[in-house]
């Protein structure tokens, strides 16, 4: 039942996302889409993926979309909506996929190649060799630790890219004639009942936000503690550096959403955050290099200490922390840089 319904919901949301003209609604539907897909992950027992999806899909990317929306405009303009070439390409791709899935093995079949060839080795040896109860964490951090280094670098790259693009960007078309004025043909969308007011009345702020602020203040330490817990707990259950890092990052974002951007910057300055982005990856890469000096291959943790299993646990913990630092810092960067644009422009 649940296995049939959730994917169906997914399809409904996926199509609705594209059909809705109001961008904010679209983003909201997309956030529900993320929630649905997370349920699907849980249902498929992919707990680590689920926790990541929760943090990223429903959380960070929704916030990012909203920020960007606040910088642009929120209504998609009405167009003739069917594009024939796009349709052809899409149908072509669907055709190829259908053609290819004819002789794919049945799902959930325990005898398919992925379940019989490489992964049984991980399941058998993960605990013995790396000391990780969570096989996902063992693969992520050790067997395919190099991929994860790459993944962390991707995140750091995104942060650097944002900084490169946004910080102190000078040339703007100042006397730009907004296209909005001349464009006609705006769709009348039912959904847009609300016109965002650009400034809120200053006096009332305190009273209005009191619940939000109190709750957040109360929650903040828990969120951060929980983030740390997720980072460290990766060894035993779902979670790890990446998920924990996102949670830590989210805590600052929540803080900023509630207490204001300036306030948040006092808690976590831009400079410190820049430094953290780099240092996380450095910790990760550094542990790898350290292994070289102990005579192992790159990222071979078990040479670091006399007891290979313990060494492995320590090594993996180290890199999880590295990942956590970088990811947290990058999440904050994404938020800060996109929010800050006008401050510099």
């Amino acid at each position: 039942m649940i296995d049939v319904a959730i994917p169906l919901f997914l399809v409904v949301c996926g199509i609705a996302v594209l059909l809705v003209k109001d961008l904010m609604s679209s983003i909201m539907i997309f956030s529900v889409y993320s929630l649905l897909i997370a349920i699907e992950w849980v249902r498929l027992n992919a707990i680590d993926v689920a926790i990541t999806e929760a943090a990223v899909g429903a959380g960070i990317s929704t916030v990012l979309f909203m920020i960007i929306l606040s910088r642009t405009k929120s209504v998609e303009e009405c167009k003739k909506s069917i594009s024939i070439p796009a349709l052809l390409v899409a149908v072509g791709v669907a055709g190829v996929l259908l053609y290819g899935s004819v002789d794919l093995p049945n799902l959930r079949d325990p005898n398919i190649a992925p379940s019989t060839h490489v992964s049984p080795y991980y399941l058998e040896n993960a605990y013995k060799q790396t000391g990780q109860e969570n096989a996902v964490a063992a693969i992520l951090a050790s067997y395919r630790g190099y991929d994860t280094l790459g993944e962390t670098t991707v995140v750091a790259t995104a942060a650097f890219c944002l900084i490169l693009l946004l910080r102190g960007r000078r040339h703007t078309n100042k006397d730009l004639k907004k296209y909005e004025d001349t464009s006609i043909n705006k769709c009348t969308v039912k959904g847009v009942g609300i016109k965002p007011t650009k400034t809120s009345p200053p006096g009332s702020e305190q009273d209005k936000d009191i619940i939000k602020k109190t709750v957040t203040k109360f929650l903040m330490p828990f969120i951060q503690l929980f983030g740390l817990y997720v980072i460290v707990h990766g060894e035993l259950g779902p979670g790890g550096g990446f998920q924990g890092g996102v949670v830590l990052g989210v805590s600052i974002i929540v803080y900023s959403l509630v207490f204001g951007f300036k306030e948040a910057q006092q808690r976590m300055s831009v400079k410190a955050k820049d430094l953290l982005v780099s240092s996380g990856v450095l910790i990760y890469g550094g542990i790898g290099v350290l292994a070289l000096f102990f005579g192992g291959n790159y990222l071979q943790y078990n040479v670091l200490l006399p007891d290979p299993k313990f060494a492995s646990i320590i090594g993996i913990l180290g890199i999880e922390i590295g990942v956590g630092i970088t990811v947290a810092a990058v999440m904050i960067t994404l938020f800060y840089e996109t929010v800050r644009i006008d401050a510099n422009g």
Binding site: D3, V4, L10, G14, V17, L18, S26, I37, W41, L44, N45, A46, I47, D48, V49, T52, V56, S61, L64, F65, I68, R71, T72, E76, E77, P85, A86, V89, A90, V91, V93, A94, L97, S101, L104, D109, P110, I112, P114, S115, S119, L123, E133, N134, A135, V136, L140, D147, G150, V155, L165, R169, N173, L176, K177, Y179, E180, S183, T338, I341
Partner: protein, 121 residues
Amino acid sequence: MVELLAKYNYWIVIILLTTGLYGVMARQNLIKKIIALNVFQTAVLLFYVSMSKIEGGTAPVLIKGAKQIIYDNPLPQVLMLTAIVVGISTTAVALTFVTLIYREYGTIEEDQILELNKHND
């Protein structure tokens, strides 16, 4: 019913992937394109994670002391963790482009941008 379900997720993957791809190419709005791109990417995630599930399997976290437990395949999950991270990074960079484009052009509709480019050149 069972046989339909055996490949059910494949069909869902195909529908989502096609929807996303169509959206990316057909929509004019730059933000909408990115959302569609995300839908497109999640379809692939679903494909991978679907293949990690084994009938009667449990999450790939060791249950100490128990024997004869079927665990799900952890490897696709690991791969998809990476893919999700890559996805969010791409989305972030793409959204940055959108804001910058809006600042330079005053619009985020592709056809209007093309028109502005034509006037400028």
